[in-house]
Symmetry: C2
Subunit: 218 residues, 2 copies
DNA sequence: CGTTGCTTTTTGTGATCACAAGCGTGCTAT
DNA sequence: ATAGCACGCTTGTGATCACAAAAAGCAACG
């Protein structure tokens, strides 16, 4: 029995390809998939109970965002980043995130600062549990919460594609590193926000973003 | 008679979906399609003699890059940008292109400067012919030639997606504007390159990129 | 004359299939 | 024992179809 097309909704709940896209995207951006790990369309389809068609569309979309790489023969895998590429992506993060933070600063209310502090507090616990995925997840949540205040959707979308590209590599980096404490630059960010200190905020964000890179080079 | 699959090559020449993607991408980035213009999968397929499948994949890829927007019901059209979004995209151009130019500077040979001058010279002719598409095309060629020297593929890829998003709107802007001369900031860029003047180069690029925006606001 | 209702057409979505290339495995020959 | 080759399985690609929803065209009514 082939029930053809979507049995119930068109894309009211969310289309199948979009559902698969979101699921995969989360796994990638949170570093749940190792760099260079390969995926198959049929495998993805089976995992989410859809046919190859929506799986293919989700994969194409992610590939367009740099979250997946497709070989010449069409094989799908998470990208393995060279050191040069990591440096570039970190530079992009520094460039764009500093701008976002700067734009968010005048709009930062107390509620935002409270939320950032709460997230940051959670991170100290996560770190003690040696939970790399949880760490990345909370870290992104921290940055996203801040940048949302910038009211700059295009910039936010762009920086998220950069995060996406770094996802698998970040996980490899963090598990190798085993941090012992929450990022202390986050506290500098919060302090600068409280003080309304723009230069300090820019520096703190830039430092936080490029800090991981130094460990890689060292 | 259904000849199923690709009759000759797998993706040796380039897969059908990739072919369609490239064609559409060119048309969009050069401003050959007006903002808000709508496309259909069957129409695209017919235009390039392929079925809906590769057309759909090309469209998804372009949508992921922001070159096309897809309505809640799945309808495909070129995006209509709000003024706020244009300002954001221009800010992103300024941010990233200044960085790219800066990285290209130490690598800029005489051959590059000659090429930039040649492109710029062509633009004066194109302007007199009132050829908006040709203008955008040459302008992008100018910038791309410069940024290629930066040896920063991730940054270049990112900025190209920004250009893509602005494509249709740029055309609307330039036809409305009817420039009378080639962009004079290009000459400042070339001069700064020759002199090895980094601050001057950064300022010239930033001015060139944000100049179009001012006309919009005025 | 405009508006509301229904019917027809258009359009995107997802499943399925045939096909070809990739890739690995195991066998054979030297 | 190792190198080369052939076979089979895996995997991506593209065409086609059935379906549902949205859009457009059309008619009848206020």
């Amino acid at each position: 029995m082939q029930s053809q097309a979507k049995p119930t909704d068109p894309q009211a709940e969310t289309a199948a390809h979009d559902f698969v896209y979101r699921k995969l995207r989360s796994r990638i951006i949170w570093g749940e998939i190792a760099p260079g790990e390969s995926l198959t369309l049929r495998g993805i389809g089976k995992e989410y109970s859809v046919s190859m068609t929506p799986a293919r569309e989700a994969v194409r979309r992610l590939a367009a965002e740099g979250a997946l790489s497709i070989s010449a023969s069409g094989r799908v895998s998470t990208p393995v980043l060279s050191n040069e590429r990591i440096e570039e992506l970190a530079a992009l993060r520094a460039l764009i995130e500093v701008e976002l933070a700067s734009r968010a600063l005048p709009r930062a209310h107390m509620a935002l600062i409270d939320r950032l502090q709460a997230i940051n507090h959670n991170m100290t616990e996560i770190v003690q549990n040696r939970d790399a995925v949880g760490y990345i997840r909370a870290n992104l949540e921290f940055h996203r919460a801040l940048y949302l205040r910038a009211q700059a959707p295009a910039m936010l979308a762009l920086i998220e594609t950069v995060w996406l590209q770094m996802g698998p590599t970040m996980r490899a980096l963090y598990t190798r590193l085993q941090r012992s404490e929450a990022p202390h630059y986050h506290r500098l960010i919060i302090a600068a926000l409280k003080a309304g200190d723009e230069p300090g905020l820019r520096l703190a964000v830039r430092s936080d973003v490029t800090q991981g890179l130094k460990m890689l080079a060292g």
